[in-house]
């Protein structure tokens, strides 16, 4: 393998795993924008979302086996539904002291993790890809079909979300509610309902990420902790609350991790990626794209 294809191979791996982080970071961002809430249970929602989709694909519910695409949609819808319920629980926390928010969301994350262990057991399973497992070779670079699916569907979801927020009426309402809750409320926007929808979308995106990544990773109740942390890092790196920032942050973090594994030291990838993140934030405290100021007292 020559150096160019080696670099490209590493880059592809980084973009793949980075898309996953980006989708998770979007969930953090959406919820932070609208509710001013950093949701530390988001990694657990990602894990639950993965299960809620994959259990159908693997025929774990009454032996009922559905195609991957159908399981993908069911998983997103169920997790979005769960998001609606969680929003109701989180609502009183939204404008409270940071300490209480932290405690509440971390606690809820534990509850979800333990629920998963009770319902599906502590032992995980490998998921078979619906696509061929043999990679497509382009110029010495191996492209795994499932990885391409993850990257392309993530891209579609991210673009779709941007269009939705910019163009759709309810999307605009969500942005308005995020900017100024009181004024939006006075203008007749049902703020609580838009927040619920935001939460549902964030949860749905996490489920999409998990179901897409499931055939590449190993599914178990602990899978959310590492991805949740890296998604959070991507959310901060991109600029807390910014939608393009979450995407940029996720991709950057994934690529940083892959490059440090391939070219610097594989033992300390996490450390290196986080160090670079801290350095970036020292020079650009608002993150790569910039911060959306959430001003709620």
């Amino acid at each position: 393998m020559d150096n160019v294809s080696l670099f490209l191979q590493t880059l592809v791996g980084g973009i793949g795993i980075g898309s996953l982080y980006a989708l998770v970071a979007l969930g953090y961002s959406m919820i932070y924008r609208s509710m001013g809430l950093v949701n530390f249970a988001h990694g657990s929602i990602y894990m639950i979302g993965t299960y809620l989709g994959i259990i159908w694909y693997r025929g774990m519910v009454m032996g009922l086996q559905v195609p991957y695409g159908v399981a993908f949609v069911i998983g997103i819808l169920l997790t979005a539904g769960l998001g609606l319920i969680l929003e109701r629980i989180f609502r009183p926390l939204a404008n409270m002291d940071l300490m209480l928010m932290l405690l509440g969301t971390i606690g809820l994350g534990y509850v979800l993790d333990n629920l998963a262990v009770i319902v599906w057991g502590a032992e995980g399973f490998a998921v078979k890809s619906p696509l061929p497992e043999t990679p497509i070779m382009i110029g010495g670079v191996a492209l795994l079909p499932q990885m391409l699916l993850l990257i392309s569907v993530s891209a579609v979801l991210m673009i779709g979300l941007n269009v939705f927020l910019a163009k759709a009426k309810i999307g605009k309402a969500m942005r308005a509610a995020a900017q100024d809750r009181e004024t939006a409320s006075a203008m007749g926007i049902p703020v609580n309902r838009t927040n619920a929808l935001t939460f549902a979308i964030g949860a749905g995106l996490a489920a999409a990420a998990g179901i897409l990544a499931a055939p590449i990773v190993y599914v178990n109740p602990a899978m959310g902790s590492a991805v949740g942390l890296k998604g959070f890092a991507a959310f901060i790196l991109g600029g807390a609350g910014s939608i393009p920032g979450a995407i940029a942050g996720g991709l950057t973090f994934g690529v940083l991790e892959a490059i440090s594994a391939g070219f610097i030291s594989s033992a300390y990838t996490k450390g290196i990626a986080f160090v670079i993140m801290i350095v970036v934030l020292m020079f650009r405290p608002g993150g790569i794209v910039g911060e959306v100021t959430v001003d709620k007292v």
């Binding site: 393998m1 080696l6 191979q9 590493t10 592809v12 791996g13 980084g14 793949g16 795993i17 629980i89 009183p92 926390l93 409270m96 209480l100 405690l103 509440g104 971390i106 606690g107 809820l108 534990y110 509850v111 993790d113 333990n114 262990v117 009770i118 502590a122 032992e123 995980g124 399973f125 490998a126 078979k128 497992e133 043999t134 990679p135 070779m137 191996a142 795994l144 990544a213 590449i216 990773v217 190993y218 178990n220 109740p221 602990a222 902790s225 590492a226 991790e257 892959a258 490059i259 440090s260 594994a261 391939g262 070219f263 030291s265 594989s266 033992a267 990838t269 996490k270």
Partner: protein, 384 residues
């Protein structure tokens, strides 16, 4: 405002509830009150990526204990098991070791499924004079000078040295790349592989590492493929090694894959997929349930109890528990950690599932492994 407060209390309640299951012991059924049960503990990874190790340990130990209790227990006393989850975290493990020593007052403990935590727990069990069993493979475990530690399976070099010897002497390979995780287990296995290679005058081309929760190994594998190895040796655990085997094949690696006991488990095969595990060499003290009458009978009983086939961890925890119960019977009626440990050291010539056990002064019990090869999703003994 009032509603908000209620919600916070509710959440705090949930938080406490979430912590509770990890701390609550799962007690075996209690026997008649006249015969006080002998308490032993299992501390291991019951959740997290390594949860499968805890699950296997629980099943192997529980089966051995249930059989003994059915046959009348130890000096008429039943054995009771308390189980704790340390999440493969040495800090949590040490706290739990303290807890079983001071609150549960156990005489023996399986601690733990992971070398890192097992090493951390050694001083606690030595201090409280409690017999400690582990199926971790790191050599340091029996080099800490504790008279209470016993290893129920061969130590790391017993897997890696014969494997490397075979790959170099019989197969004629010279170019090796190592990939392992950053745990004590992973670092240890890769160290023993390196030492075994050195004995043949060879150096690994590269040694790549990853964190135990990593899932994408493109970076490590591209670095490995660049060195153009004939063999990739796995040092890490079953799930990650399986994923690495799959990703290595997907990146076009055509050479030999091989590794120690983690590679001999069904979890490795599940994560690699049968196509990618084909032809992979693994060493383990327990390759197949079909080895002899004893292993076949064990596999049948295990399957009847747990509705799944046993593998090496189920077998070594069963073996270790048999050794422990033998020592308890000899120590009877003096069931203390000190007396049991003294009797444990005297065991020799016990024929277990993994072979013949002869307990050594430092706490090793067995040192032989066999070579196996994956064929059609099944691990079979390799005949040279």
């Amino acid at each position: 405002m009032k509603r908000s407060l209620v919600s916070i209390l509710l959440l705090l309640g949930m938080l406490l509830a979430a912590c509770a299951p990890a701390a609550a012991p799962t007690a075996a059924p209690q026997a008649a009150a006249s015969t006080e049960p002998i308490k032993i503990a299992i501390i291991g990874a019951m959740s997290g990526t390594n949860a499968v190790l805890g699950d296997w340990m629980k099943k192997g130990v529980t089966l051995a204990v249930e059989e003994k209790n059915k046959a009348g227990g130890i000096c008429g006393r039943p054995i009771e098991i308390v189980i704790y989850d340390d999440e493969a975290d040495p800090t949590k493990s040490v706290n739990l070791a303290q807890k079983v020593a001071t609150e549960d007052k156990v005489v023996a403990a399986w601690a733990t499924t992971n070398s890192t935590s097992a090493l951390a727990d050694i001083p606690i069990f030595a201090q409280y004079k409690i017999v400690q069993l582990t199926n971790g493979t790191n050599v340091d475990i029996t080099n800490k000078g504790s008279a209470y530690i016993f290893r129920a399976n061969p130590a790391g070099p017993a897997y890696e040295t014969p494997l490397v010897d075979f790959l170099v002497d019989t197969k004629g390979y010279k170019k090796f790349a190592l990939v392992t995780d950053t745990s004590a287990y992973g670092k240890g296995e890769a160290d023993y592989q390196t030492a075994a290679l050195k004995a043949h005058g060879l150096e690994p081309l590269t040694r790549q590492s990853y964190g135990i929760d990593d899932k994408d190994f493109t970076g490590q594998l591209t670095a490995i493929l660049q060195t153009n190895p004939e063999v990739i040796l796995f040092g890490g655990s079953e799930v990650a090694s399986g994923l690495i085997a799959k990703q290595a094949r997907q990146l076009g690696f055509k050479g030999q894959l091989a590794g120690g006991s983690a590679i001999a488990t069904p979890k490795f095969n599940e994560n690699a997929g049968a196509d990618n595990s084909e032809g992979v060499f693994a060493t383990a003290p327990y390759l197949t349930n079909d080895l002899n009458d004893q292993t076949r009978a064990f596999a049948a009983r295990y399957k009847a109890r747990w509705n799944e086939d046993p593998e090496v961890h189920g077998a070594n925890t069963y073996d270790g528990t048999q050794l422990l119960m033998m020592a308890m019977e000899k120590a009877c009626p003096n069931i203390t950690g000190e007396a049991i440990a003294a009797e444990f050291h005297k065991i020799s010539g016990y024929q277990g599932l993994q072979g013949t056990f002869n307990v050594q002064p430092k706490g090793e019990t067995i040192d032989k492994t066999q070579l196996g090869v994956w064929k059609g999703g099944k691990l079979t003994p390799y005949t040279q």
